[in-house]
Every structure is written in structure tokens, then in C-alpha cells.
């Protein structure tokens, strides 16, 4: 949907900062990288707002976010397929232990660890859909790929996660 007005930089920070932070955290598993990305995106938004023309503001914002993320990855000279952070391995793919008391806590760690194992294109599609909450069309707009490809990536990404994760009975 086309937006009538572009919000101010402060509005963007308050309204979308948390989403951007979560997007980056789920892609990298690293709070420092997530904070870096938020700063970089807000900086780019601040610079870019004057040139923004009414249209899909969210599409514009997520394109900036994604580009900032990929630029950051390139600058750091690493591939977006980050290694698992230390201490975040929970026997992915193996049988669950009999003691499932902490299952709910571990579950989010497991999901995060499994996410980091996905190739970037699939991880990005899944995170934009399930964490950020964008529609397929919005994801296509933000990532500049056809909707059919988005659909396929989301499904394949979830399917890979299904194979990586084992669920408590």
C-alpha cells in the first residue's frame, strides 16, 4: 500500500528499530552485529529520507536494511553464512533428551542455531516472513526477486529447518 507521507527519522527508529534489530539478530545470532545494523540503517534512513518519494515505505526501508546488512557482511569479509556462536549447539538433528523440562527455552536456541545453518537466501526469506512478518509480495519488493522465488525459498527454508530440528514429544 502506498504511504501518503514519509515518517521522520525518529519515527522510523521508534517504529521499526526493534524489527530491524530482530531481523539482524535472527540472521546473525549476534547482538553486536544487530546493533551495528540498526545504527547503519537509521543513518541511511536519515540521509535518504529527503530523497524518499511517497510509495511503499516499508519496501524502501527493508531494501535499505537488507543492503546495509549485506554491505556489513561484505565489509567484514565474511559470508553471510555465519558460524554458529559458541555454546549455541544443541545436538541439532539428534534425538531429544528424556529430560524435556527446559524444552521450551532450548527450543528457541535450537531454532536460532538451525536458522544459522541455512544458506543465506533461505534464511533471509524465512526471517522476513516469520520474524519480521512481511507478506510474500513485500519480501519480493525488499529483496528484488519474483514472488514465486520468495514462495519457493520460504518453503525450502522451512523444510530445511524441519530436517534440522527434532521436536519434543
Amino acid at each position: 500500500m502506498a504511504d501518503e507521507f514519509a515518517p521522520s527519522w525518529e519515527d522510523v527508529a521508534h517504529r521499526y528499530g526493534r524489527k530491524i534489530y530482530n531481523f539482524a539478530y535472527r540472521l546473525t545470532g549476534n547482538p553486536d552485529d544487530a546493533a551495528d545494523l540498526v545504527q547503519e540503517v537509521l543513518l541511511r534512513v536519515r540521509k535518504g529520507l529527503s530523497g524518499y518519494r511517497p510509495g511503499s515505505f516499508e519496501g524502501w526501508l527493508w531494501r535499505i536494511t537488507r543492503n546495509a546488512f549485506l554491505d556489513g557482511v561484505r565489509r567484514q569479509g565474511r559470508r553471510p553464512e555465519s558460524a554458529l556462536p559458541e555454546g549455541d549447539h544443541h545436538d541439532l538433528g539428534s534425538s531429544p533428551s528424556p529430560d524435556e523440562v527446559l524444552a521450551s527455552v532450548r527450543l528457541s536456541d535450537d531454532v536460532q542455531a538451525a536458522l544459522l545453518k541455512l544458506p543465506y537466501a533461505f534464511r533471509e526469506a524465512v526471517v522476513l516472513c516469520d520474524v519480521v512478518g512481511l507478506s510474500y509480495e513485500e519480501i519480493a519488493d525488499a529483496t528484488d526477486i519474483p514472488v514465486g522465488t520468495v514462495r519457493s525459498r520460504i518453503h525450502r527454508g522451512r523444510n530445511m529447518l524441519r530436517e534440522l530440528l527434532t521436536w519434543p514429544v
Binding site: A13, R18, Y25, R26, A34, L107, S152, L161
Partner: protein
């Protein structure tokens, strides 16, 4: 189920879009048809459903407040002064300080407090034998660094100067706080207060 798949993709690929409400009616009918006919497809569908639910249940993390326009740096400022932040964090803090007058002022105050505290003379440990063991006060950590340093020291000074316990018995930790509070306020202040004999 054997047969030619007229689609350019596995029909199972529609499961995610089905769950996300992103299919046309015709495509959704295909999924329903498949689920009615194929048990294996049902397993895959349930698996996708679980994954989708788990992803959507991932906790939404709070963004650190200092990243927001009206957020402040808090205890990061002390860590910044002490060089205890990563390079990336240091850069973020300095960017924020440039833009935020409140944090700039706090950083300035903290820096002065830190310099004052660090310029205090060393305690002559030879005199520690004369300090009686703590009796009345519980042990406390000497909390002098960080953003509460000056406020805590000033408050302690008032308590001590305006009559706290009439028979102060200084624990080593209290001695440290006392020393810093008095030394901050009175440049000529002696390192040790007179020893009070607390024995009966």
C-alpha cells in the same frame, strides 16, 4: 501417488504458502486434495506447520535503548572510559556521544570523577593492622567507579559528617568509601580516620 505432475514444482512446495494464506483458491484446492490423498504429504505438512509455529514463537528481543534517538548510554559510558568495550561498541558509543548532549555531559562528569578517584594517594597498607574488625556494619563492596561514584561518595560523606553511627567502626570496605568521600571533599584529609577502640 503416481502420475505426471503438471506443475513446475512439487505440490508440497505449496504448503508454506498455504499456511501463510498466500495461495489462490485453485492452488489451495490442490493442497487440500494432496493432503486427503497422501499420508506422507501429511507428515511433511505437519512438520512445516511446526517449524512455522516455532519461528513465529521466537521471542521478540528488545532493542537496546541507547540505539533509539532519545535513548542514553548508561553504564556503557564507564566501560567506554575504561576501554572495556569492543571496537564496534566503542565506535557506537562515540557516535552516540557526538549526537547526544545528555550523554556527552554525563561522560564529562564521569571522566572528572574517574580522574579524581585515580589521583587519590595510595593507602598505606601498613596501617591496616590498626583497623578493627567490622562489627556494626555489614560488609559492602567499595562502589566508587561508574556512574554512581560521585553521588554515592557525597551521600556517604553527609552520613559520616552529619552524624551516622556515634561509634563508627570501619570495615575495610567502609574505610575505602569514607576515604574517597572525604578526600574528594577535603584535599588535605588524612587517609585514615582516628581508630576507635570498639572493645567493651
Amino acid at each position: 501417488m503416481a502420475g505426471v505432475n503438471p506443475l513446475s514444482y512439487r505440490r508440497e512446495e505449496l504448503f508454506s504458502a498455504f499456511l501463510d494464506g498466500e495461495l489462490t483458491e485453485k492452488e489451495a484446492d490442490l493442497v487440500v486434495e494432496l493432503l486427503e490423498a497422501d499420508r506422507e504429504a501429511n507428515d511433511e505438512f505437519r512438520g512445516i506447520q511446526q517449524v512455522r509455529r516455532a519461528l513465529r514463537l521466537l521471542p521478540e528481543l528488545e532493542i537496546p535503548g541507547w540505539l533509539l534517538p532519545d535513548g542514553h548510554l548508561g553504564d556503557r559510558l564507564s566501560a567506554y572510559l575504561d576501554g572495556e568495550l569492543s571496537t564496534a561498541e566503542q565506535r557506537r558509543v562515540s557516535d552516540h556521544v557526538v549526537a547526544c548532549a545528555d550523554c556527552r555531559g554525563e561522560l564529562h562528569d564521569l571522566d572528572r570523577a574517574r580522574t579524581a578517584i585515580r589521583s587519590l594517594p595510595n593507602v598505606d597498607t601498613g596501617q591496616l593492622d590498626r583497623v578493627p574488625a567490622p562489627t556494626a556494619f555489614p560488609r559492602r563492596r567499595v562502589a566508587v567507579a561508574g556512574s554512581i561514584g560521585i553521588a554515592a561518595a557525597a551521600a556517604l560523606f553527609f552520613v559520616l559528617a552529619l552524624g551516622g553511627d556515634p561509634q563508627p567502626a570501619f570495615s575495610l570496605d567502609d574505610l575505602g568509601s569514607h576515604h574517597i568521600a572525604r578526600a574528594s571533599a577535603e584535599p588535605g584529609f588524612a587517609v585514615f580516620p582516628p581508630v576507635v577502640d570498639s572493645s567493651p
